[in-house]
Symmetry: C2
Subunit: 193 residues, 2 copies
């Protein structure tokens, strides 16, 4: 219905404005008034959609996490082989991060901030469970070295963060970017196999 789409629109505007401002000025460094202003709504409207500022921060985190997960699922599910799945997870994570730099920066910022503790351990676990299972499978089949899956996962994520920072630090053409991602994946595999 029309009214609902209006609702979502303003909510989306608020989330989008919050994302930009949070990355630029930090969570506490961004007043709700500025968020409302940039979203083009009144002060009070923000609190109609989000009871508190904290709730807005958490909602933004969940929203971004979900968008990235959806993107990854779409691109990984079609892959049939283990190697194909890992390549898809890695390259598409990088592609998404580079295509959504602000969102990815927000994730980094959030995950190293005290806000992270507001996310329940179950929810955190749920987000990585699938990946852990896939890694376990790869270990069982001798595709990866026999290491704890959690160790492998954190290393892969560290790898992705590092590569992201490298690709953001200077200007690359799309071709160069893809080449670096490709090489980064090969190096990662050299480490894990």
């Amino acid at each position: 219905m029309i009214s609902q789409s209006r609702n979502s629109e303003k909510e989306k505007e608020l989330l989008s404005a919050a994302l930009e401002l949070f990355v630029a000025y930090g969570f506490h460094g961004t007043p709700t008034s500025k968020i409302a202003l940039q979203a083009g709504v009144a002060n009070g409207t923000l609190f109609h959609y989000f009871k508190t500022k904290d709730e807005l921060v958490l909602a933004l985190y969940v929203d971004i996490k979900q968008k990235m997960s959806t993107y990854l699922e779409e691109h990984v599910l079609p892959e049939t082989t283990l190697a194909g799945k890992f390549r898809a997870i890695f390259t598409n994570s990088m592609q998404w991060a580079l295509a959504n730099k602000t969102s990815f920066q927000f994730l980094q910022q959030f995950q190293t901030s005290p806000y992270l503790s507001r996310i329940s351990p179950e929810e955190t676990l749920g987000q990585v469970k699938d990946h852990l299972m896939l890694i376990q499978l790869a270990v069982d089949e001798g595709f990866f070295k026999p290491k704890p899956p959690e160790l492998i996962l954190t290393m892969v994520m560290g790898h992705i963060f590092g590569l992201f920072q490298y690709l953001c630090s200077s200007d690359f053409t799309n071709d160069e970017q893809n080449k670096v991602i490709e090489q980064g994946f090969e190096m990662l595999m050299a480490m894990l196999k």
Copy 2:
């Protein structure tokens, strides 16, 4: 002199209190009044040592960076071989991070925050110049794969961050920790050689 040592003491107290509170509640989430309280000094005293809150944040960053650098230099300089130097850099970075978790967490938080832009590029470059030169040397000698040193450096740092998070996520004995660090180094070398 006595007065100077008193000065340093209060300044250190303030930096130490700020560190704990920043990691627990974030930069803007920590009022200067609470910092002064925890440091055991009056409100105004904080502003005698640091003109503004921002200056305190930056001073804390510089202080921690310098402590880590000093620690690394001490342990890396004695090494004579390339392999020895890299192993020393890696393992001692991990050791320092685990022995100074809060400090290391602060570095992570700071480096993913908008505050990072307050640090001049020259200063940032100065901090990594030595490492970049060492990597370049290793590439020239065929010790590492022929990749841009910046790429190798960000990957190593991503590796360290990942390993740090893994070792913080659950309880390990010292022996287990050292084993993981050792293995982590071997894997890193497998990737870079």
